[in-house]
Amino acid sequence: MKHDFEPKIVAFVCTWCTYAGADLAGTSRMQYPANVRVLKFPCTGRIDPVFILKAFQKGADGVLVSGCHPGDCHYMAGNFHARRRFAAFRKLLEFVGVDLARLEFSWVSAAEGGKWVEVVTDLTERIRTMGPLAEFKELETEEHWSGRLETAELKEAYNNI
């Protein structure tokens, strides 16, 4: 089925649980939307809020962060630290006006191929209905007024590149 809008979704996942869970979804031949691009980290503890910000800036319409369930972290506590970090960061994003429906967090274990499919599918479908993340994309193209190119020729030249 084709949709009007296919969002770009970036998933930051830990290698031990969620990446393996996504592998399991693969070996089990489960199907899910092809919108997600998975970046592998050793641990959710390694995932810096700046990466999420950067992903939004570089055109992601949705971001998923996923790792081991509490207590299952390969590194014992990385996901516990990540949990606090992201609890705080999402509040900050919300405060500057980012719709938190675009940012999903989940625990997906190596055994939860089905949950991976569900999380990715739900997020993709939700963002399909929300449409593109216009705010960051607009911001990327905006210039300070003093450096703005106002004339038609310049705009055209600019648009051509």
Binding site: R83, A87, F95, W107, L139
Partner: protein, 315 residues
């Protein structure tokens, strides 16, 4: 300022004689500390050329202790001068520092982050009725009308844990919390409205980094935002980079910010930066019961965890 408050806005919060007395005591203490060799330098305030202004002063000579003052114009958080960002300013040896209650919180935070040691400091606490707001009319004495926003909600007027506390404050009136009200106003907005609010504010940002440079906690030797390999945050003062910079700044200060609001005061573009810090402080208090205090807490809320921390936001 709202009109109902206008009536007693101009009522002085403390008598001028209060500042004269504190200044005298401060000079005496500074001269004693320097001449007895207790400290090698005193970081305090001195008067500015213009009326109603003051700035940081580093005094090493007891004979110059009489340049020190304390007044409602002593806005700066001097903890800045003890950090790596201002390496070598105060020299070596034990340093005395003049600290208002709000500055003491920053000192406590810096101690917890291994940046300064209590035993290297002689803290001269000053009981403070508040300081002038930026852009406030300084021809009049300090009043509710020209008081800085942060001071309206101050709970640490009389510092604790200092080596000496100078001054005893008269009872101060309860003032409406304008910053908290502004925070509530923003929180009541839709995400789109908040985005518009910050976008407009950040659009003015010219990346002078005054907010960063005056922050006692921005003592990194290499700011993430000055790095170009990789470039985590665009260095150029365009709307995109500005938004990223202010988000990163707020995140890096979350759980560490002492609430001195120097960032907001220093901002020449009047961006309400302390709103971000206050928001994060409030969230961390609600989530983890953390509050910036007057005593060092070894581990801040974002370098510690509990196994049963809230995870209702995680699927």
């Amino acid at each position: 300022m709202n009109n109902t408050a206008q009536k007693h806005d101009a009522t002085p919060l403390v008598a001028e004689s209060y500042y004269a007395a504190v200044t005298d005591a401060l000079r005496t203490e500074a001269a004693r500390l320097l001449s007895e060799g207790v400290v090698t330098a005193v970081i305090g305030y001195k008067e500015g050329r213009r009326h109603g202004t003051a700035g940081p002063a580093i005094v090493v000579d007891p004979a110059r202790a009489n340049e020190l003052i304390f007044s409602a114009a002593c806005v700066n958080n001097l903890a800045l001068y003890l950090t790596k960002a201002k390496k070598g300013v105060a020299g070596t040896g034990k340093i005395a520092i003049v600290a208002k209650g709000c500055d003491l919180r920053a000192l406590a935070g810096l101690m917890a982050e291994s940046q300064i040691r209590r035993e290297d400091l002689h803290i001269i606490g000053v009981a403070c009725a508040g300081v002038f707001g930026s852009g406030a009319d300084r021809r009049e004495p300090l009043s509710a009308g020209n008081l800085a926003g942060k001071c309206r909600e101050c709970s640490v007027g009389a510092p604790e844990g200092a080596d000496i506390v100078i001054g005893t404050l008269p009872p101060l009136p309860e003032l409406s919390p304008v910053e908290a009200e502004e925070l509530a106003r923003l929180e009541a907005m839709t995400p789109a409205e908040r985005w518009a609010f910050w976008k407009e504010n950040f659009a003015r940002c010219i990346r002078c980094f005054a907010c960063r440079q005056v922050c006692p906690f921005c003592y990194c030797e290499q700011c993430l935002c000055d790095r170009n390999r990789p470039q985590a945050v665009e260095t150029t003062p365009r709307p995109a980079g500005n938004m990223a910079w202010h988000i990163v700044r707020a995140m890096h200060l979350a759980g560490r910010c002492a609430g001195c609001a120097e960032c907001e005061r220093a901002c020449p573009m009047d961006i309400p930066l302390n709103l971000l810090n206050r928001k994060m402080a409030r969230e961390l208090k609600e989530l983890y019961g953390h509050e910036a205090g007057l005593t060092p807490v070894e581990k801040g809320p974002l370098v510690i965890y509990r196994e049963d921390d809230d995870q209702s936001f995680i699927k």
